[in-house]
C-alpha cells in the first residue's frame, strides 16, 4: 500500500492544474513583456490568473504580485514593512514563536540591522492570545506578522481578531497563509489583512510559484531588481505556466472547499481517535481550531526519524519535528514553543492526509503507527526507564 500523508509538505498537482499549465509550456510561448501578439497572449494568461486569485481572496488584481513561492512572499512582505517603518523611525516588529523559518529568519536579519523583535508566546494549544498582542503593540511597532495556520501543529490563529487590533492601532498586519489558502476561507477585507503570503504547491499547484497580496498603498520593496515585471515590484520573466496552474488549482480547491474540509475533518478525527489509543501519546495543537488535514502527535520513548523510516517501509509518507529529520540538534521550535520538552518533541509525527485518502487507508495508518511505536519502544532504553519508574512519564 502506498499512502501519501504529507500534504502539508507539498501536494500532488491536480489534473486541472496540469491542464492549465500545458499550453503555457507549448503554444503560448511568448514572453509576457513582449509587445507582439505571442507575448500578449502570455500576458493575458497572467492577468487572468491575477484576477481570479484576487477575486478568491477578495482583493483587487493590482494587489497581487507573483513570487517564487511562500518564502519569497514572506521575505518581501516583512522587508517592505520594515523599510516603510524605518522611514518614520518605527523599528519594532511583533510576531509569534511558531512562525515558519521564512518569517523567523527574516526577522533575525532585521534584528541584526537594529530592529527590535517581539515574539508572542503561544499557549499550550499553540494559539497566541489577542490580549497579549494588544499589550505588545507600541508606538514604534511597524508590523505584526502572525501565521494564519501552523504547518506543524495545524493550529488556526484568531486572524480576524488580530486584524481588527492591528487596524485599530494602525499597524501593518501580514499573515503567512501558506497552509491556509485553498484549505480555509480567506477574505483579506473581512479579516483586515494588509499583506498575505501563499504558495501554489500547497493546494495542488506547481512548486516554485506563489503570490503576495499587499493592500493598495503599501509600498513594496523589490527583492529582485532588473525589470519592470509585476509593476516594478518583482523583476524577472514571469513563471507563466506556474501562475496559470496556480489560479486553476486555487479555483478548484475553493470550489470543493466545503466538501474537502468535511472529508478531511472526518479522516483527521478518526486518526486522532485511533492514535490516542497509543499509551503515553499526546496530540499537539488545539483539538478544534486546527487545519482539517493536520494530525500531529508526540509519542514518549521513541525518536521521530526511526518512526518515519519504518512507516516509509510500510508505504506511508509522513513527517516529524525531530532533530534528526531537520539536520540540527534541536527538535522543532514549534513543539518546544507549545511546551513539549526536548525528550518528547523528538518523538513527534505529523500526518497530513489528502481528501482522497480512503477509510481503509486511515485504518492501515493507525495500525502501522501503533505497530512501529510499539516496536521501537521494545528496545528503547528510555521507554524501559519510563516503564520501570526510573524516570517519570511526561505525557
Amino acid at each position: 500500500m502506498k499512502i501519501y500523508a504529507d500534504n502539508a509538505a507539498t501536494t500532488r498537482m491536480s489534473r486541472t492544474a496540469i491542464e492549465a499549465m500545458l499550453p503555457c509550456l507549448d503554444e503560448i510561448c511568448g514572453n509576457p513583456s513582449s509587445l507582439y501578439s505571442e507575448g500578449q497572449r502570455a500576458k493575458e494568461v497572467i492577468e487572468t490568473a491575477r484576477k481570479e486569485i484576487a477575486q478568491i481572496i477578495n482583493a483587487d488584481p493590482k494587489e497581487i504580485i507573483f513570487t517564487s513561492g511562500g518564502s519569497e512572499a514572506d521575505n518581501q512582505a516583512i522587508l517592505s514593512a520594515a523599510a516603510i517603518g524605518q522611514k518614520s523611525g518605527k523599528r519594532h516588529i511583533i510576531s509569534s514563536a511558531i512562525e515558519h523559518h521564512a518569517v523567523l529568519h527574516t526577522l533575525n536579519k532585521l534584528e541584526k540591522l537594529g530592529f527590535e523583535i517581539t515574539l508572542l508566546p503561544v499557549h499550550e494549544n499553540g494559539m497566541i492570545r489577542p490580549d497579549e498582542l494588544k499589550e505588545a503593540i507600541r508606538e514604534d511597532t511597524c508590523l505584526v506578522t502572525v501565521m494564519f495556520a501552523n504547518n506543524e501543529i495545524g493550529t488556526i490563529q484568531p486572524i480576524k481578531e488580530i486584524g481588527e487590533i492591528c487596524r485599530a492601532r494602525k499597524v501593518l498586519f501580514h499573515t503567512d497563509a501558506v497552509q491556509a489558502v485553498g484549505h480555509l476561507p480567506v477574505d483579506v477585507a473581512e479579516y483586515h489583512i494588509d499583506m498575505l503570503s501563499a504558495s501554489a504547491h500547497k493546494f495542488h499547484g506547481a512548486k516554485g510559484v506563489g503570490f503576495l497580496y499587499a493592500k493598495k498603498g503599501i509600498r513594496l520593496s523589490s527583492l529582485i531588481e532588473g525589470g519592470a515585471q509585476e509593476r516594478g515590484r518583482r523583476a524577472g520573466t514571469e513563471n507563466v505556466a506556474g501562475i496559470a496552474a496556480m489560479a486553476a488549482a486555487l479555483k478548484e480547491s475553493i470550489a470543493n472547499l466545503d466538501r474537502n474540509a468535511a472529508r478531511l475533518t472526518a479522516i483527521r478525527n478518526r486518526l486522532i481517535e485511533g492514535l490516542s489509543e497509543i499509551p503515553h501519546s499526546a496530540l499537539n495543537g488545539d483539538r478544534e481550531k486546527r487545519l482539517p488535514s493536520n494530525v500531529s502527535f508526540c509519542f514518549e520513548g521513541i525518536e521521530g526519524e526511526s518512526l518515519l523510516l519504518l512507516l516509509d517501509d510500510k508505504g506511508i509518507s509522513a513527517s516529524s519535528g525531530s532533530a534528526c529529520t531537520s539536520g540540527s540538534l534541536d527538535p522543532s521550535h514549534v513543539l518546544l514553543a507549545i511546551g513539549r520538552v526536548h525528550d518528547v518533541a523528538h518523538g513527534s509525527l505529523r500526518l497530513t492526509p489528502g481528501e482522497d485518502t480512503t477509510d481503509e487507508e486511515v485504518e492501515y495508518i493507525i495500525q502501522a503507527v501503533k505497530d512501529v511505536v510499539q516496536y521501537l519502544r521494545s528496545f528503547s532504553p528510555v521507554w524501559r526507564d519510563l516503564c520501570s519508574g526510573k524516570i517519570k512519564h511526561i505525557i
Partner: protein, 137 residues
C-alpha cells in the same frame, strides 16, 4: 538519492543483537534524550572474550544501525580488541554515514568503551592484563 546506504538501512531494519543481558559483566550508557540519542550496551565477557553483546537504542535510523554494527564488530572478539574499536570503523562498516550523522557512530564507540570500563571497574585486576590496549584512553 537515498539518505542512507543499503548497509545502514539493513542494520536499521534488522538490527542485530537487540535486547538486554540481565547478568551482564559490563553495561555502558551514553547520550541523553534531550539530544535525541541514547545507547545502552550490555556485555557478557568470559575469559577476556566478548561472548555476548546486546543493545538498546533510542534514536534515529543511523543511531540504531550504528549500535547494531558496533555489536557485530566486537562480538566474539577479545576485550583488548574491542577497546580499540573506533567510530570510523563503525561508519566504514556501514558504508558511510551522512556527515551530520557521524555523531551516531561516536556514540556507539563510546557506549562500548563505557561498557568495557564498567567491566574493568567490576574487575580491576583485569585492567592490568589489558593495559596495553587501553593506553590510548
Amino acid at each position: 538519492m537515498a539518505l542512507y546506504s543499503d548497509k545502514v538501512m539493513d542494520h536499521f531494519r534488522h538490527p542485530r543483537n537487540v535486547g538486554v543481558i540481565e547478568d551482564a559483566d559490563g553495561v555502558g550508557e551514553v547520550g541523553n534524550a534531550k539530544c535525541g540519542d541514547i545507547m545502552k550496551m550490555y556485555l557478557k565477557i568470559d575469559d577476556d572474550t566478548i561472548t555476548d553483546v546486546k543493545f538498546e537504542t533510542f534514536g534515529c535510523g543511523s543511531a540504531i544501525a550504528s549500535s547494531s554494527m558496533a555489536t557485530e564488530l566486537i562480538k566474539g572478539k577479545p576485550v583488548s580488541e574491542a577497546m580499540t574499536l573506533t567510530n570510523k570503523a563503525v561508519a566504514e562498516a556501514l558504508d558511510g554515514l551522512p556527515d551530520y550523522k557521524m555523531h551516531c557512530s561516536v556514540l556507539a564507540e563510546e557506549a562500548i568503551r563505557n561498557a568495557l570500563e564498567d567491566y574493568y571497574t567490576r574487575h580491576p585486576e583485569k585492567r592490568g592484563e589489558n593495559a596495553e590496549a587501553s593506553i590510548e584512553d
